[in-house]
Symmetry: C5
Subunit: 285 residues, 5 copies
Amino acid sequence: MFSTFELRPPMYVRLLLWLLAVTAYSVIVISVFEEYHVPESTLGDAITTVLGLAIGVLLVFRNRASYDRWWEARTLWGCLINESRNLAIKTAAFADIELAEQHHFADLLIAFPHALRMHLRGERDPLPEIEAVYPEIKQIQHRPGFVVLQIFKYLDRWNRDDTLHASIRIIERNANTLMEICGACERIRNTPMVPSYRYMAWGSVILYTLAGPWVVGVDQGWFTIPIVLLASCFMIGMEMVAETIEEPFGKEKDDLPLDRYCETIERFIRETLPAPTATADAVAG
Amino acid sequence: MFSTFELRPPMYVRLLLWLLAVTAYSVIVISVFEEYHVPESTLGDAITTVLGLAIGVLLVFRNRASYDRWWEARTLWGCLINESRNLAIKTAAFADIELAEQHHFADLLIAFPHALRMHLRGERDPLPEIEAVYPEIKQIQHRPGFVVLQIFKYLDRWNRDDTLHASIRIIERNANTLMEICGACERIRNTPMVPSYRYMAWGSVILYTLAGPWVVGVDQGWFTIPIVLLASCFMIGMEMVAETIEEPFGKEKDDLPLDRYCETIERFIRETLPAPTATADAVAG
Amino acid sequence: MFSTFELRPPMYVRLLLWLLAVTAYSVIVISVFEEYHVPESTLGDAITTVLGLAIGVLLVFRNRASYDRWWEARTLWGCLINESRNLAIKTAAFADIELAEQHHFADLLIAFPHALRMHLRGERDPLPEIEAVYPEIKQIQHRPGFVVLQIFKYLDRWNRDDTLHASIRIIERNANTLMEICGACERIRNTPMVPSYRYMAWGSVILYTLAGPWVVGVDQGWFTIPIVLLASCFMIGMEMVAETIEEPFGKEKDDLPLDRYCETIERFIRETLPAPTATADAVAG
Amino acid sequence: MFSTFELRPPMYVRLLLWLLAVTAYSVIVISVFEEYHVPESTLGDAITTVLGLAIGVLLVFRNRASYDRWWEARTLWGCLINESRNLAIKTAAFADIELAEQHHFADLLIAFPHALRMHLRGERDPLPEIEAVYPEIKQIQHRPGFVVLQIFKYLDRWNRDDTLHASIRIIERNANTLMEICGACERIRNTPMVPSYRYMAWGSVILYTLAGPWVVGVDQGWFTIPIVLLASCFMIGMEMVAETIEEPFGKEKDDLPLDRYCETIERFIRETLPAPTATADAVAG
Amino acid sequence: MFSTFELRPPMYVRLLLWLLAVTAYSVIVISVFEEYHVPESTLGDAITTVLGLAIGVLLVFRNRASYDRWWEARTLWGCLINESRNLAIKTAAFADIELAEQHHFADLLIAFPHALRMHLRGERDPLPEIEAVYPEIKQIQHRPGFVVLQIFKYLDRWNRDDTLHASIRIIERNANTLMEICGACERIRNTPMVPSYRYMAWGSVILYTLAGPWVVGVDQGWFTIPIVLLASCFMIGMEMVAETIEEPFGKEKDDLPLDRYCETIERFIRETLPAPTATADAVAG
């Protein structure tokens, strides 16, 4: 299971590197203070006040927006679990079909979250169960869409065979939502925060970190370092968490455990539409 | 009714233990001040200012998010009450079925909230009425899903017998929502706050509590203790309330009274679909 | 029209009593200052700063949440007006029924808001028009649910008689919403704010009021009283408004005028489904 | 086109009158300072701090709530445009009817936004096209409801004639929304902000303005006037904007251009359902 | 592809011009300070405090509202992608039609986002594929509405021919949403922020910039310039970003990449409903 997602070092490593840089910079600034007598000035004070306000406003705003995206993504995958379950339950309750067909339909329902997960992460692992029946999927770019199309084709055939007893609209509604969830997830993945806000947030944080030791150093001497580190840790940390949860489909610690959700769906569908054979769980691998 | 939920001591006990620890720590710090002459310094002042801001931002953000989850959970159970009522009313109004069958259907409607409540709390008390009719439920992992499946099977049979006079879609919509509510509740239960925010919030609170007595102690002597206690009480209290209502399905004082909701549903359904026998209320026990 | 709702004195009376108590307390504190020389201390200052922050955070949070509930309740009754109107319009447009039956149906539509209003306020005035036709309603606990059941029974009969020409689903959707509105109103009425937040808000306000005169009195002498009164008036006032609008179905000045909404519905339904007799307005009494 | 709406002078005039009063009052206060030696006191300072906080909290809260209402009203009229367009498009696509009837139906669709606009503003201009066909509308109190009733009667007739080929539910959904929009707009118009918040906001602003010159005047002399004017301009301005956009259906500069929305609807419907005669645009006058 | 959209210089150019003006003004103010001895006064201090608060409140409020609009616009285009995909999938699954007709229908589905994009930007490039079949579109003002009308006409014909097997309502729902998206996008484009808020925001920013150098200059001399520039950069930048994302359909860096969304839709539809000929991609040009 190789993925193109983890080229960037994980968040805590990046935070540590930043803090090391801040420490080094502070040490240099304080050494300058110790060596030469820097005339006292309120310039730095004025600058950090202005920047502090800007950073406060931007960080609150940005973390709120990022968290809303993260929670929306979580809600979407929760919906996906619901709709998959409802599809399985309704198929078991309404459709008058034989076990083998039911089993193939269950394969499609299980394949959708896996296909969506890989689609969102830019991965392309094989879906063996599906490829066995629909070899053309290997050429398809948008695999979740292809799986939904096959689900709809089943529904249409059952409708025409009258095995659904006029309840097609009942089942269709849930299948329709699958594609809506897919689109909403793509929207979250493809739309970063308004770029200008990101530049302003980073710009303020960096200027603040550059000005910080000069301001604090006048009074505190070597005690400057823990103060500056604390402030940087908070500001850079908040910004980094915001950036991480803004893209909630990755594999960092704060990201959503998509693999676990896929398993939850799979387990429920297998319990509701039990397979006649035991080869089914190869899909999840 | 044994549950795995109450291993953690209740919130006010944990808060008390924290405050005791803070008091002990403050007493030690103040004793040090009294014993030795600590040179005055603005270091602590700078640190508490930085931390105070961070804590303010994080606590507001965190409590808002937790409260939103709590209120969403409340709304979901409110919906569950609505949908159960509507299902009972519509069954009474539209379905042309005999009393005994109506009674069994009412059992299923009543069993769903109980099954969901236990599912959310990790409990597994028996559902005697349901187990009498469907003994296979004892092997089922996801009991709410199983109950909904039986509800759908009733609807399907009535639809095929034409006792619903083409109004299946009217009733189905409410049954569909049952599963959606179940999934949304599971989402709230299974998704804690973004971990990094929790670490940052606790980290800031602990650092603040550690630094607090050193800063206040310089001016206030033994009066430091009530001040530090008040601030800790507020900060730790807010954080703890946020953690408690983040998981609204437990049994603490701030959690949702799920048992009462289940009874509300049961009472209404029994009034609308009266049982021919009086053994029905054994389910709720 | 007797009700169990007004045992508590109205809000402005309670606010006045609070302010009297605060004045008396301040007078005592200032007298102490005048009599004895109290050593100057920054203790009170530190305490009011900590409490002021806590109160600010809690009041903003609490008023926002309460106002959201109030507005949701208003929206729900707005929806109720809509759905009642749509039901009346659709009955007039689609159902091929004689005037007397139409009139009885209009009675049910008018009775629902009245039943819901009384249900939310814990009142039980008679509904003469409904009791004349359905005497069993006197034994029913949940009267809004009973009214909706009768509405659905009409719809079912019209559907089976084919007087609706397959448009039952069009009308049913609006009737379904009636019960959803009822459940949502009950949710708002039955779920107070998370208790811990209320305790923290009141605790902070009371501590602040107790500490206030000691802090202000050092500098201001008898001028302390207007300052402390202003601050108390704002804090206690905000908290009281929050508590009042948290339960928007009462009869205080800030609560929703449910009686007026009921009349609006009644007037529209009578205009759309005019009664053959003039005895109809006895229901509203 | 006479209306009862503009008895109040427009916002900027009221703001100007307020600022004149503030200036006059400040001049008097400063004259007193110049004439007599007022002993320096921190009383005013303490009062303005308390009031400043209260005003900040109340203004932010109030403007947010008012803006949300304004935006909701805008969204509702946006929905009205959508639903009118969809009704016109679907009538053109699905209904198998002759041009004259189509033209009358288009008249109804166009009359609805005009009737709603006048209903929300308390106006009652004639709707000549509608009155020609339905003279009874002159006695009707709730004209938008009457128009929707006629729309539903058309749909019902087409449904019974089978000119809709079972697509009545497709068209009905949009007609149903018309009445929902009407009710939601009435809700916004009829429900002012919780009265207690308004009293508290105005009370704080007036007290602040009264106390302001006494506080600032000690240090600044005649420079007090621009400072007090700036602060008043901001506070009174924010409050007035909040009050204006709270009632978004009026005719002030910040209100919604309802006339323009009505024209947009009319233009689209005439393009989609072209009239056989040219007398149609008399409705809009 | 000429457009009337880019007459205004891009955001960073406007920001730069503002900052140049601010620098020039500061230089003049500081020169005055250097030349003449300006008596120290706290007037400016008081003014910037008042204005700073006003600006903070207004900027936070304004950026939140603008960002909400931007995100809503993004969500609407995400929905458009979903609905287009679902329409294509359902057409492929349910409709029993020949390839040529399918291809024409796909042309309509692809033309809609392009027509909407141009409609929102005030552009009118040709849509060759559509104009070949429907030459009357050249006279049509509201081209997206015309495209949806043709989509509905296809659905109506298929419904009457019974090629949809009673699943018209399933497909219609998605087509209905197309028009809703169009209307919601027009609402966002046509409704700027409440004008009074814009005036107040710009007024405060300009007054603040005018007063700034006088206040800072007293203490800082020539160091005034970086401080004033930083503050201006933040305030004017925030206001400009808010203005830009308020109108998210333009072509600036922060605006939504509508062209890319159109291509995404086109690619998916061509994959799901493959064209028998290869001339299809001429539409996108």
